[in-house]
């Protein structure tokens, strides 16, 4: 059975969404908001009702929110929107030419439009994960397991000082645990925030009593009768740890697509192994990809970009819903956004800052942790900002990214605005 619809009747298309995370749910919302009336089926492999991920390493781990507060939609809300959600179901493959997906059970499901929103899968170490006390953090079950384990553990080793690792280290300190934060790079979050902001974050963790082991890889995880007892660094020292979080990144969940004609970007090229999409999220005939798994063509940067940001999921969802329904593209052009809460620092970033950019503090003072920093490319164009404690100013700088402004021009604009004020 196929749900083939005639041209001009895009609003009746049968849409299958693979992935019940924020991107998948937002896509269903966006379709209905744009008056789509056709069937919507969502397949999610987890057992939980759809939930939001950013709170996992923050409020859920800290125990200040119950898991229900992170829930994206109740079954009543989905039913009211006439969206059919199948949980604990893994989609095994897709046949683009035949317009159908095959579930792990062997059942085949036809579609008029397919939206792939399978997100990312955690990377793991080649050792240690079989031990009791060694955790990863991607799902709600992961967060609850770490939270539960931390109730009885004394010393947490966090392997990987990216956002996730840094946030978990902060939460664990606030819960009174001894924390060691380990990373082969010299500073936390260094690849994204660069040396200056990275140093500030390192100082913040030091100030809160975190033992920083930066510039070190991990050689092995020690155990006693299957329970983790310590993490051995590449210089041979062992730091005590009766709990460990491995937070060494994630990769696109695309293994199920290797047998299909859905195109992927190479892991080390722009797009970082994500599904290769055009600037509307279209990957193949009647196939779209959104959220963390999707590498959309960015016409401004002239390359594929895959961004693991919560807000990108919403933007992709709205844009692809309009494309599926053959409506005019969504007008609102936005910039990538991420936030990271560590202790009382609320770090906010717009655009795509990176360690390779030139760094300029343009408002406030880094030492006060109240600042806006601009990250510029080789032609002085502002490609990203990171700031804290100055939200009005951050919004102004965000607009400069949208306008493709150079730093020189932005500073002149700011000066003349201040002179006329």
């Amino acid at each position: 059975m196929t749900g083939e619809v005639s041209a001009g009747d895009a609003s009746a298309k049968k849409v299958v969404i693979v992935g019940a995370g924020p991107a998948g749910i937002a896509a269903a919302d966006a379709l209905r908001a744009a008056d789509h009336t056709g069937e919507i089926l969502i397949f999610g492999e987890e057992r939980h009702a759809p939930y939001d991920r950013p709170p996992l390493s923050k409020q859920i781990l800290a125990g200040t929110w119950l898991p229900e507060k992170a829930q994206l939609r109740t079954s009543e809300q989905l039913a009211a929107a006439d969206v059919t959600l199948h949980l604990s179901v893994r989609v095994a493959s897709v046949d683009v030419e035949a317009h159908q997906v095959t579930l792990e059970s062997g059942e085949q499901v036809a579609y008029d439009a397919l939206i792939i929103a399978t997100g990312v899968t955690v990377r793991v170490l080649p050792f240690g994960h079989q031990l009791e006390g060694v955790h990863v953090m991607r799902t709600l079950d992961d967060a609850l397991a770490l939270r539960s384990h931390m109730e009885t553990s004394q010393h947490l080793a966090v392997i990987g000082a990216g956002f996730l690792g840094a946030e978990v280290a902060a939460v664990a300190r606030s819960l009174g645990r001894e924390v060691t934060l380990i990373d082969p790079l010299e500073l936390p979050m260094q690849n994204v925030v660069g040396d200056e902001v990275g140093s500030m974050i390192a100082d913040l963790h030091r100030h809160h009593g975190v033992n920083l082991e930066l510039g070190h890889g991990v050689a092995s995880i020690e155990d006693n009768l299957g329970r983790a007892t310590g993490v051995t660094l590449d210089d041979g020292r062992t730091v005590p740890a009766d709990a460990a979080l491995v937070a060494v990144g994630a990769r696109p969940a695309v293994d199920w697509l290797h047998s299909s004609s859905v195109p992927l970007t190479a892991p080390k090229e722009p797009g970082a192994g994500g599904i290769r999409c055009d600037s509307s999220g279209r990957a193949a005939d009647d196939v779209w990809a959104i959220g963390d798994v999707a590498a959309w063509w960015d016409p401004t940067l002239e390359r594929h970009v895959r961004v693991e940001h919560r807000m990108t999921a919403n933007e992709h969802a709205r844009s692809c819903a309009h494309d599926i329904l053959e409506l005019a593209p969504t007008a609102a052009k936005s910039v990538p956004y991420f936030w990271s809460d560590q202790y009382d620092l609320k770090l906010r970033s717009f655009g795509l800052p990176s360690r390779q950019c030139s760094f300029h503090v343009v408002e406030g003072d880094l030492a006060d942790r109240r600042f806006v920093a601009a990250y510029t490319d080789e032609s002085d164009r502002i490609v990203g900002t990171i700031g804290a404690g100055m939200f009005k100013a951050m919004n102004w700088w965000r607009q400069q990214i949208l306008d493709g402004q150079t730093l020189g021009e932005a500073l002149r604009l700011k000066q003349s605005a201040e002179n006329s004020a």
Partner: protein, 65 residues
């Protein structure tokens, strides 16, 4: 139309301020959004709906009266 804003969930993205600047504003020090208008007029609906859809923290709910 009535707007419900969960300040405990708000992450200070400022999206709502960009989408509907006459309905939302945000505190300068922590970015938490607040309402300028709890019951905006009907012509604000599309802007407010956009703010609801784009909020990365799902902190905005628009209730139709």
């Amino acid at each position: 139309m009535r707007i419900e804003l969960d300040q405990d969930a708000c992450v200070g993205s400022g999206n709502c301020v960009v989408s509907a600047p006459d309905v939302f504003d945000q505190r300068d020090d922590d970015g938490i959004a607040f309402l300028l208008e709890e019951n905006p007029s009907a012509e604000r609906e599309s802007a407010v709906k956009e703010a609801e859809a784009m909020c990365p923290a799902l902190a905005i709910r628009v209730h139709k009266k």
